[in-house]
Symmetry: C2
Subunit: 202 residues, 2 copies
């Protein structure tokens, strides 16, 4: 019997989701699982949960900027704090869903890796259409088709639907995981997710 | 040369601080360190940082209640979600500082363990003066002296001073640790703190 996929929700502007995106596939594979990715907009969830980005709060901001980079180093993942930060990621997310629905999980996952790494290691501003076109091109996509997709009402609707589904799943932050129906929030829940996969509910 | 103590800040109403209070001494000892505890009021820090308790936010509330208990189980620490929750902890915190300043670190740490365990395993409501007197008695303290201490302006001032020092140290949540000058926030930073102690800055 095939075990259910790990549901993995992320916003392309979340440093912790970027780090988790680097370890989630290997962790899943060690436990005979696959990963089902969901690109969403954290701003929608923050509005629903009356939350803000950690860098929008006094005191927490400075700590968070330190912790983003440290948490990446802890997982041996390269990290360069991008500016501007955070950014709007609806274009990048629509490209994800366009690839997902027209080409499948693997090309969408490849785009997720490519866009995350571009922003968090090279500072490629995903909210800038010119930069995003270049990134699409460099990632082996048809840049004009990618741009058409992120402007197309079909993929706008698809992203909206993904956001709504994420809220129904209980999401209020990123990364957000669902393992066999149980939610886990945060890159720092990696060890708990690993135990859940190894032992079941604990 | 004696290595600096690990600074450990907590509010008696924080589930994650309770869990951390159970592992911090053993972790410190493994690395030749001691622990310097600081009882503070998280409400003061939340006000300064424009934050609220995780259970005060829609969506996040239900997840947090699940995660409190799960995070305790992950560390093999007993946990029974108390009600009411959260509670005012200024009385318990003043008893901490009274013991700390008049009897030393060890009796204060013993009170911290006793009060945390009473609230998070037996539902002893630390904000209730009668319950707190009984707990003081059961913890081997002079209950009348403890009550006098939590009503004494000296220990009110001492707690206020502790809160102000915590804000200067960068605290905006609990548990909050400072290891050789570097801040770590959260029970879930245990593995990072361990690496910091073993390897230095990473």
């Amino acid at each position: 019997m095939v075990k259910p996929a790990i549901e993995f929700y992320f916003d392309f502007s979340s440093p912790y989701a970027y780090v988790a995106n680097e370890w989630i596939d290997a962790l899943a594979a060690r436990h005979g699982r696959t990963v089902r990715r969901h690109a969403i907009l954290l701003g929608v969830a923050f509005a629903a949960a009356e939350l803000k980005s950690p860098v929008a709060y006094p005191l927490k901001r400075e700590y968070s900027l330190h912790d983003f980079a440290r948490s990446a180093r802890f997982e041996r993942v390269p990290y360069v704090q991008p500016t501007p930060f955070p950014i709007a990621t609806h274009h990048a997310a629509r490209v994800f869903w366009w690839l997902h629905d027209t080409q499948g999980d693997a090309p969408a996952a490849q785009w997720a890796r490519s866009a995350f790494r571009a922003y968090f290691t090279q500072g490629v501003v995903l909210s800038d259409p010119g930069a995003l076109r270049e990134l699409a091109q460099a990632s082996g996509l048809d840049a004009a088709a990618a741009e058409a997709a992120w402007n197309d009402p079909i993929w706008k609707d698809r992203l909206r639907e993904a956001n709504e589904q994420a809220l129904r799943a209980g999401l209020f932050g990123a990364p957000f995981f669902v393992v066999d129906g149980e939610p886990f929030w945060g890159n720092d829940r990696k060890a708990q997710i690993e135990r859940r996969l190894a032992e079941g509910p604990f």
